[in-house]
């Protein structure tokens, strides 16, 4: 293992319960990502504190709030499930199961289709916060979690996959979750595209939306790409067996940038995830090729 990678890993292993920035109150998303990163680099034994944090953050209904002290909204629940399923033993199985129950009950709000918006507003995915519309990232996280627990064929997973495909912009890529608005095609962004493509690994798409987004994404990144966007892009491409030769040098560059600036554990965890020698974020789980209905 390269020295910089080992240094990053040691840093996360020593403090896996972490916030978005150095010194910040711990939060569920960076802590879950840290636990997943440790597992993917063979350091699961260092992840218990993170997994315990997520367990302590779990609400009685199975959801996990954004911070242990902030029970709502509960969009990190899917990431917590992913982290628990990577635990070296079965002690978090009940946490994952309760999380699954909550996840399957949570739904984004829909509305009748309108020509003002380009996407299919009737499809159900997951919202950031209860009582609101479904958006790309929480839906993709939920799909990843459901696949990880063997629910690839669940109707909610299938509908969410359709939603993610539908929300890809015609020229490739996606943003937070709108394609066109009042007839205007909107801008794609790297991070949500990477996350959506991670969730769409192994999915068939006759319309070619996934292929177009993969092309757009691979042409949109460089070592100058900001950290979390670059990491999710590499994770998303790798999930489709597109491994860039420059990945590690680029990640080393952004790691040095993080180290010299905000020292964000959240970004460091994502760098580790992007650098992991695995085929996807949830590669511990063998996904079968699923054909969209």
């Amino acid at each position: 293992m390269e020295r910089w990678l080992e240094e990053a890993l040691d840093g996360i292993a020593s403090q896996p319960v972490c916030g978005y920035y150095a010194g910040q109150t711990p939060a569920s998303e960076p802590t879950a990502l840290a636990a997943i990163a440790l597992a993917q680099h063979g350091r699961s034994s260092c992840a218990h504190a993170a997994l315990d944090y997520l367990r302590d953050a779990q609400n009685s209904d199975g959801s996990v709030g954004v911070r242990r002290e902030e029970t709502q909204p509960a969009w990190p629940t899917a990431l917590a499930i992913l982290a628990w399923k990577l635990a070296p033993d079965l002690r978090y199985e009940s946490c994952a199961r309760r999380g699954e129950n909550w996840l399957l009950a949570a739904r984004g709000k829909t509305m009748a289709r309108t020509s003002d918006l380009g996407h299919d507003t009737t499809l159900v995915g997951w919202p950031w916060a209860a009582g609101t519309h479904s958006w790309i990232e929480p839906t993709a996280f939920a799909v990843l979690a459901l696949k990880a627990i063997g629910q690839s064929h669940h109707p909610r997973t299938r509908e969410a996959v359709r939603l993610l495909v539908d929300r890809q912009i015609s020229g490739g890529g996606c943003n937070y979750g709108n394609t066109t608005c009042l007839g205007q095609t909107l801008l794609p962004h790297i991070q949500p595209t990477g996350i959506a493509l991670t969730a769409l690994a192994g999915e068939a798409d006759d319309a070619g939306n996934i292929t177009a987004s993969l092309k757009w994404l691979s042409e949109s990144i460089s070592e100058m790409t900001p950290t979390t966007s670059l990491c999710w892009a590499l994770i998303g491409l790798r999930a489709h067996a597109l491994q860039l030769d420059q990945s590690l040098p680029w990640l080393q560059t952004v790691y040095q940038r993080v180290r010299n600036t905000d020292r964000s554990p959240y970004k460091t965890a994502l760098i580790l995830l992007a650098a992991a020698n695995t085929t996807s974020l949830t590669s511990y789980h063998d996904f079968e090729k699923v054909t969209s209905p």
Partner: protein, 352 residues
């Protein structure tokens, strides 16, 4: 934009919503007086008691070193002495909703941020730049694409990522939407002054976005989503009003130099105005921005709510400082959509 954003913004602000306005002591006193004097005297009293606010306009501006002087003069002319913020915490809130190098006229220019920071720093204030971009989760991307990262680095300015900071719940002082309160980021709650530093733009749902709507960006994405859909589902005009009513002391400094018209706030076209606005009351600032864009302020739903509750929007109650708006107004293109028809005082330029 969200589903509910669409639904809510198309709806007019109802009579019921208007009737739920805050009743303050001044209103009650004025009401008592009106009973005593009689209805005929009421309108005169109401006019005399109605709030007034100053708004400064500077013309012939560009993104250069003279901006700092302009902002200083503007602040002084509206009654803000930067020196009074010595040792105080000042939060500058630019608009970095969805930055793109290809669309620099979408976001507050870095030179505006640096000039505002320098005015307050020279006065001894502790200045922080803070934003919670509404459409992207990668805040570093927002800072890089907008050019603000480089500017912050060059000036050694601290940035507060409002999307991910710890939050404190604050009671909703406006009462127009259904939310009992807001989770404001720590940097916002602890600020002695929040400076809304928007770009003057048209907006495809609500008509105009300027100093008031820019404060959507103090709402943390980690709690409200990307986009901040909880706000949309509670009504854009109502939540714009309530956020403004619930924040600590605010002022507005508007980047109206290179603006956006047409399909704002993201995809519109650049329009050069060369103006800077400064004001102590954001409703008055935004009403003036509307007039400069040839938009009827009363047709902008959140301004209609704010009128005489959060501040004056009537032309006669805004005390113009610096340049008069009348000679500087220029029609901004607005989308040719039914929900935007009322924006124009007369048939204006539309784009399909």
């Amino acid at each position: 934009m969200s589903v509910s954003e669409l639904e809510r913004t198309k709806a007019n602000v109802s009579t019921h919503e208007l009737s739920t306005c805050q009743v303050n002591r001044r209103t009650l006193l004025a009401g008592s007086a009106a009973v005593a004097i009689g209805v005929s005297g009421w309108s005169a009293i109401r006019h005399a008691l109605a709030p007034r606010a100053p708004v400064f306009i500077a013309r012939n501006q560009s993104y250069d070193s003279r901006l700092e002087r302009t902002l200083h003069d503007g602040l002084v002319s509206v009654g803000i002495l930067p020196a009074s913020y010595q040792g105080k915490r000042v939060l500058l809130k630019p608009n970095l909703v969805e930055p793109s190098r290809k669309i620099p006229h979408m976001t507050t220019h870095p030179a505006m941020i640096l000039a505002a920071a320098e005015v307050f720093r020279r006065a001894g204030a502790e200045v922080v730049v803070g934003e919670g971009p509404g459409h992207i989760r990668d805040t570093e991307m927002a800072l890089v694409e907008s050019g603000v990262a480089e500017a912050l680095h060059s000036a050694d300015l601290r940035f507060a990522d409002l999307n991910y900071e710890e939050t404190r719940w604050t009671k909703n002082s406006g009462g127009m939407c259904g939310l009992a309160g807001f989770h404001f980021p720590r940097s916002v709650v602890e600020a002695d002054l929040v400076v809304s530093l928007p770009k003057m733009k048209t907006h495809h749902w609500v008509g105009v976005t300027c100093a008031m709507k820019n404060l959507y960006g103090v709402i943390p994405g980690i709690k409200y989503g990307w986009p901040k859909n909880v706000l949309h589902h509670n009504g854009i005009p109502q939540t714009v009003y309530d956020i403004n009513a619930s924040l600590p002391k605010t002022i507005g400094i508007v980047d109206a130099i290179e603006c956006m018209e047409g399909d704002g706030p993201i995809m519109g076209s650049a329009k050069w105005m060369g103006l800077v606005l400064v004001g102590t009351n954001l409703a008055a600032v935004d009403a003036t921005a509307c007039r400069l864009m040839d938009v009827t302020p009363e047709a902008v739903s959140y301004l209609r709510l704010a009128a005489d509750r959060l501040g004056p929007i009537a032309n006669g109650r805004v005390d113009q400082r610096g340049e008069a708006w009348e000679s500087l107004a220029s029609s901004f293109q607005v989308l040719d959509k039914p929900h935007l028809q009322a924006l124009r005082p007369r048939p204006g330029i539309k784009v399909s």
